[in-house]
């Protein structure tokens, strides 16, 4: 991993060196200003959702990326934290429990931690496939229980509440979306910083060691099982925070917060972003939320695109989107980034044609198959197309093939330029 090289140097550095504090300050400032750019309610909702997904994805990556544990049931810890918080909110509303809303995520975290401690006690005994399978089983079990245990989970309709019933804090009652945004943003920064610092502690390092070679870590005197358990608990804590933030934002929790689909999508998000980097899940969450909310406005088959994107990522870019960006640091540092600009620009044209024509083929086929009879026209990239005539489909298919051939032809050149850009002259520092 790219971060590992810096770690040795950092260990002797002061606790919070200015250089590493800078990105956090910039990010916080960015979060502060975002509502000025997108002031609408829907914009705020999407940003809140993004923030929650980021916390959840970062917490998930504490397992997948840092400890090498693949979980298929991680929604459980976020969901349980959220359900408990929802019940706390209802206690505030109906039984006059004194609990200022901004502190709620802390309790969510503690609930998440509690369940992670409990379930982790047996599920983290082994890593790899066994852990993945147990996590799947526990996930399915609790999701199914949510329908059965109606008192706690509220059955199919879930549990809802009202966040504004608690005591006012500094004059805020959190009725408006903007106040909730700032609350969420503050918790996002706190949680992200917490997870970052955790990854820098000796404990976080040992988790990496167990991930990479559990036997060797064991020989060094660390119990791999306890290391996994502690990582699992820490992840559960931050998942619980995400759950509490969800409860505050949406004021409802349902079975959906626990089920396999949610667990699967967090895996997808984290992997898309890049598991090997701290920032990876953040990028994954932002991209995914945008794709989900925006792409679904424009096309019915957005999930198909997402599936293709995911499978291609696993096949060709196992380090995700962040890995793709990080690949370019080396040429940049070597001062050879300029070598890549031209081949990239040349490749961009056929690639763009390939993607848009492939999209066109799929959209036309889908429309021809599923639009109601008589509805033969569709709007594609601003063009009106008759999907029942063969011409547009044929044109798109030809464009796919031709652009693919061009890409194939250009690929060796790009590869050459890439190798050259990554090549360090002998003797150079």
């Amino acid at each position: 991993m790219s971060v590992d090289n810096q770690s040795l140097a950092q260990r002797r550095a002061p606790l919070v060196p200015i250089r590493s504090a800078l990105p956090w300050l910039i990010a916080s400032g960015f979060l502060l200003l975002l509502p000025q750019v997108f002031p609408s309610g829907a914009g705020l909702t999407i940003m809140n959702q993004m923030a929650i997904t980021i916390v959840f994805a970062l917490a998930y990556n504490m397992l997948l990326g840092q400890a090498g544990m693949l979980s298929f049931g991680h929604a459980v810890y976020m969901g349980l934290g959220g359900f408990f918080c929802m019940h706390l909110l209802n206690q505030v509303e109906y039984n006059d429990l004194y609990l200022p809303l901004p502190l709620l995520p802390l309790f969510g975290g503690l609930f998440g931690l509690f369940f992670a401690f409990l379930i982790g006690s047996f599920s983290t005994r082994r890593a790899g496939t066994v852990f993945a399978m147990i996590s799947l089983g526990v996930g399915e079990l609790i999701a199914a229980c949510s329908i059965i245990i109606v008192v706690f989970f509220g059955g199919e309709e879930g549990v809802s509440g009202d966040r504004t019933m608690g005591p006012e804090v500094l004059g805020f009652d959190f009725a408006s979306q903007l106040e909730v945004y700032y609350l969420t943003a503050i918790w996002l920064v706190v949680a992200a910083l917490g997870m970052y610092l955790f990854s820098r502690t000796p404990m976080g390092r040992i988790a990496n060691a167990v991930r990479d070679n559990e036997e060797r870590a064991e020989f060094l005197g660390y119990s791999q099982r306890y290391v996994r358990w502690i990582s699992f608990c820490a992840s559960g804590f931050f998942c619980g925070i995400a759950g509490a933030l969800f409860a505050i934002n949406f004021e409802i929790l349902t079975e959906e917060n626990l089920n396999l689909a949610t667990s699967g999508s967090i895996l997808l998000i984290t992997f898309l972003g890049g598991v090997g980097f701290f920032i990876g899940p953040v990028i994954g969450a932002v991209v995914f939320t945008l794709l989900q909310t925006v792409l679904s406005l424009y096309t019915e088959i957005w999930q198909l695109y997402l599936g293709i994107l995911f499978v291609l990522t696993v096949m060709f870019f196992p380090f995700g989107l962040t890995g793709l960006i990080a690949m370019h640091f080396r040429p940049w540092n070597l001062g050879k980034f300029g070598l890549l600009v031209r081949p990239y620009a040349v490749m961009a044209v056929p690639a763009l044609v390939f993607v848009s024509s492939a999209v066109a083929v799929m959209e036309i086929l889908f429309h021809a198959r599923h639009a109601s009879i008589g509805d033969e026209e569709m709007n594609l990239f601003g063009l009106t197309i008759n999907t029942h005539s063969q011409v547009p489909l044929l044109v798109a298919c030809v464009a796919v093939v031709v652009s693919f051939l061009v890409i194939k032809r250009l690929a060796p050149g790009l590869k050459e330029a890439w190798d050259e850009a990554n090549h360090q002259e002998r003797g150079a520092p």
Binding site: S40, G41, A42, E156, S160, L290, L291, T293, A351, S372
Partner: protein, 418 residues
């Protein structure tokens, strides 16, 4: 790689456009109705079917008649909630942000419960931007009882009313001595079972309920063991509120296991279900529903249905009440003289008596905002069916009708009016 950057870029660009161009949308000449229902995922066909009927009804019943107020036209704006409560609330916010004040939703009582709560909270927190919730399909009785609120209107007969009508018809059939109840394990399934027990006890104390059970929703792969129990119980009839694949699975398994008696259902029609049952369901499947398609009640109804089928051959009028929603909303807006003051529109809608295109009178009961209308028991059959479902030749033919079903039923609703 380019796939990534391109989608990221387009996403970012379109996001700023989509989110940036907000509250400006409330043009005087259109009244927008947000349609929030599943348009993708496993229940997409139900959502799309409802959407096409809404579009058709808005065009046929309002826009082509000159619109409402000073010629304002209805526009249906679809929002895909993927049948998730969370996604529905997001889409609700998006809709409100676009200046839409009428929210139509129907699929899944769970989603309806979430929306009615959210609408209540929103209207309290934003008195200048209130919205109305037009529930056209979610039939959990709680929505017009314990959870009722001033902004929610239900146009479908709720689960209790349907069961009241169904048991009226069953009570007159002396062949029925033993009844088996089976449903999905959630609020709606439980409501159906509870209502069936209550009404059967009151109307036919001699009928024995030989089975009353709930199965996990959407999780049963094979209904054969359930079917065995039903057949072995010797039941003369069974009642189920199942929908979607749970309905198909249960129905097929029961018929295959040799069950020869009537199966009373809520949702065993259209969306591919009618086609899947086909001949096997003939003479067995019965449906309790509102809105009579076969035989057509009037030339107007027949013409309306025929025009819809011609325009959307893939879909059916599976939810006839949508026509009532559109007509009654148009009347309420005209009566109130405004499409922006929701309190006035809601007051106009309360207690409204309306002559439906489907031949029934519809009364929007003021005390709980529950529509009272004729409820029919229809049979799945190929005989005398003018308008079939799923282009399968099979459709629903009304066999008996309960006039203004449950018009004087009790409600626990304590309506709080602004």
């Amino acid at each position: 790689m380019n796939l990534f950057t391109k989608s990221l870029l387009t996403a970012a660009l379109t996001a700023s456009v989509a989110v940036g161009s907000t509250a400006a949308a409330f043009a005087a000449d259109t009244i927008k109705i947000a349609f929030i229902d599943p348009l993708s995922g496993p229940f997409a066909s139900t959502g799309n079917q409802g959407l096409s009927h809404y579009k058709f009804a808005a065009q046929e019943l309002v826009n082509s008649q000159g619109g409402v107020l000073d010629g304002a036209k209805f526009e249906i704006v679809p929002f895909d909630n993927k049948i998730s409560a969370k996604e529905s609330l997001i889409q609700l916010k998006v809709a409100i942000d676009q200046g839409i004040r009428f929210i139509a939703q129907g699929n899944s009582s769970g989603v309806a419960n979430a929306i009615t709560d959210a609408v209540k909270k929103h209207n309290r927190r934003n008195p200048d931007q209130q919205v109305l919730f037009l529930n056209y399909s979610a039939v959990d009785p709680a929505l017009t009882n314990k959870k009722c609120n001033f902004w929610h209107f239900r146009f479908d007969a709720n689960a209790d009313i349907k069961m009241d009508a169904l048991t009226d018809v069953m009570a007159s059939n002396q062949d029925i001595k033993k009844v088996y109840l089976i449903g999905q394990d959630y609020s709606f399934g439980k409501a159906v079972a509870a209502a069936a027990v209550r009404f059967l006890k009151a109307k036919r104390p001699d009928v024995e309920i030989v089975g009353n059970e709930l199965h996990p929703i959407g999780k049963v792969k094979d209904f054969t063991p359930y079917a065995r129990k039903i057949v072995s119980s010797g039941a003369d009839a069974m009642i189920t509120g199942n929908w979607g694949s749970d309905m198909v699975g249960l129905g097929k398994a029961v018929i295959e296991a040799g069950f020869e008696n009537p199966i009373y259902t809520y949702y065993a029609a259209s969306d591919g279900i009618t086609k899947t049952f086909g001949e096997a369901g003939e003479g067995k499947l019965k449906l309790v529903m509102e809105g009579q398609l076969n035989p057509p009640v009037s030339d107007r109804a027949a013409a309306y249905t025929a025009k819809f089928e011609a325009q959307y051959p893939d879909y059916d009028i599976g939810q006839p009440r949508i026509a009532n929603v559109i007509e009654m909303l148009a009347r309420a807006i005209n009566d109130a003289g405004t499409a922006t003051d929701m309190v006035k529109v809601a007051k106009a809608l309360e207690g409204m008596e309306h002559d439906s295109i489907w031949g029934t009178k519809v009364v929007m009961r003021a005390k709980d905002h529950q529509a009272i209308q004729d409820v029919h028991i229809a049979a799945h059959t190929a005989k005398d069916v003018k308008f079939d479902f799923d282009s399968s030749g099979y459709g629903l033919k009304v066999e008996s009708t309960v006039k203004m079903a449950s018009a004087d039923s009790e409600t626990s609703c304590k309506m709080q009016r602004p």
